[in-house]
């Protein structure tokens, strides 16, 4: 009936207006909604990075000939290293590492240039501080590439057959860490905020006792929940747009694929997160517990198990299995494909389908739980 539909629409509008009042009158909610995402994104983007610049190293040159000088110059000019000290004896090596500033010692053997010209080979020993294994690895790789490029430049002079692979880093040629982090952060923030805000706002009504009054009214549970969730869909979507804008203008992360597809996938993921929030709020009627579940139960797994920082392929099998249950994992794959590789829907339909399936599953569980509570 037309009048019924009109009344329902009016009820729904009233509900959404009320929800916006709650949001805009609570500074805490506003901070969580818009402050935290921006700060997190900027923090992660600038601070958490795999790139290392100006790492302090020490050089122990026992040869001091024209080739070792040239290689040392190359090491310095690469920008990755800064020579902090020149060592005179092997006994100093242990001491500089103990001091802690020096990350790596590069040692040229005695008679370097002579050996290289006579035998065609000479040794560089690289000693790193592996108490920080990741840094050590990265530094060794940087140094390798510096010496390789020196060798390449000398190739003609040396007249030796060498196979030098030409490496092309596709989709992120400068190997910027931020390219990896932004999709991850986006996945984390959207799921955290959407699930956290919905679960808190629903449990708040339970705590206040207003939920009972709403349930005793002619509103159907479906209307109550969709009325509560609608504003958060809008706000989370604005958040997604904000994150894409910041990553474009501040971190120069391109969007190679279709922008509409990207936004559509964001919307789907937001709805997945909201349905998780609804599910959480059916499990508890306390705001505190809802917050704990959202923070501990969603944030940590998202950081650890979504392939955001640690590659899924390297995990023990059980954890890999867990990873496949994480909605963020699929979302990260989707946005990386769209933003960085310019992939179209035909490449991400599988992940999209999985996210949609998860959403339906969460909603189904919530409805079931809600019904048993009434009985």
């Amino acid at each position: 009936m037309k009048t019924d539909r009109y009344i329902n629409l009016k009820r729904f509008r009233g509900f959404v207006v009320k929800e916006f009042h709650h949001i805009f009158r609570d500074v805490r909610t506003l901070v969580i909604l818009f402050g935290i995402p921006v700060i997190q994104l900027l923090l992660f983007g600038f601070v958490v990075t795999n790139e290392i610049r100006d790492a302090k190293i020490a050089v122990f040159d026992q040869s001091k000939d024209y080739i070792t000088t040239r290689i040392t110059q190359k090491i310095v000019s690469s920008g990755y290293f800064k020579i902090d000290r020149k060592l005179e004896s092997a006994s100093q090596i242990e001491d500089v590492f103990r001091e802690g500033n020096i990350k790596m010692v590069v040692m040229f053997e005695a008679g370097f240039a002579r050996k290289l010209e006579k035998d065609g080979q000479a040794g560089i020993q690289v000693i790193t501080d592996a108490s920080e294994p990741n840094t050590a690895n990265i530094l060794v790789n940087y140094l390798n590439s510096v010496t390789l490029s020196y060798m390449a430049s000398q190739q003609k002079a040396l007249q030796q057959m060498q196979i030098i692979p030409e490496v092309r880093m596709k989709y992120n040629p400068e190997l910027k860490g931020v390219f990896l982090f932004v999709p991850g952060i986006m996945a984390m923030l959207l799921i955290l905020i959407s699930a956290l805000m919905t679960s808190i706002s629903i449990t708040r009504e339970k705590e206040l006792g207003t939920m009972e009054v709403l349930l005793a009214s002619p509103l159907r549970p479906f209307q109550i929940i969709s009325g509560k969730v609608m504003p958060y869909i809008l706000l989370s979507f604005m958040n997604a747009v904000l994150i894409i804008l910041i990553s474009f203008f501040v971190f120069q992360i391109p969007v190679h694929g279709n922008l509409l597809l990207l936004l559509g996938e964001c919307l789907l993921y937001i709805i997945t997160a909201l349905s998780l929030g609804i599910l959480i709020s059916t499990l508890t009627s306390s705001q505190q517990i809802a917050m704990m579940i959202s923070l501990v139960g969603l944030m940590l797994p998202t950081i650890l198990l979504s392939g955001f920082i640690f590659p899924v392929e390297n995990m023990p099998l059980i954890l890999q299995g867990l990873c496949y249950l994480m909605p963020p994992k699929y979302f990260i794959t989707i946005i990386k494909s769209i933003m960085l590789k310019g992939a179209g829907f035909s490449y991400v339909w599988k992940e999209t389908l999985i996210l949609a399936g998860m959403t339906l599953f969460f909603l189904f569980l919530s409805i079931k739980k809600f019904k048993t509570r009434l009985e």
Partner: protein, 243 residues
Amino acid sequence: MVNSDDIIIARDLVKKFGDFTANDHLTFSVKKGEVFGFLGANGAGKTTAIKVLCGLSYPTSGELTVSGYNIYTHREKIKQNIGYMSQKFSLYEDLSIVENIHFYAGIYGLSNKVIRERTEELIGMLDLQNVRNKLIKDLPLGWKQKISFSVAIFHRPSVVFLDEPTSGVDPITRRQFWQMIYDAAHSGITVFVTTHYMDEAEYCDRVSIMVDGKIVALDTPLNLMRLNDSVNMEGVFLKLARQ
């Protein structure tokens, strides 16, 4: 016993949670325009009963008709015709008085014109002109309680359910609140109220006393006192609860 004037008819109403029987075969009826009290100690099953009557939870077995509608088949119709005020007053603290009224009125599908007229009437009656745009959290408890009750009957339901509406408010406010209940009853709204204040029980037209999930007595306060040789309801209650 079935009477067209009966607004609530419950027959053998049972509500179980697992092995625990919260409501054990409740049979009673409430007349139109009556102030019907539901008296019992904490845990006697009052709140459970009121939730079943409001359609907030399903009965395990038994017959229940509210406002002429069957609870199993016409739950939505019932909800349109009842008002409910919970123990917690259930107003939104971060909304103003007028916003709360408009929100709840909107849920019941009242037209904007009706909402506007009744809001002004209510604001005038409760003398809230100067605070109409104040947030609920800035108001004293007694005011919240009165506003909450007014909101619960704003859509002119045929019956309003009040779940311990006076817990935590001072005696003077309680007295004023009961005046509001009488006014509502005079305008034809049936009032179903649970309480554990014995003096309030005396204000009701009829009282049912619940002990351990069962109704052990149901009559007018005067009859109950006479039958149990008591001068007040407290005596009646203590006598019945001890049995």
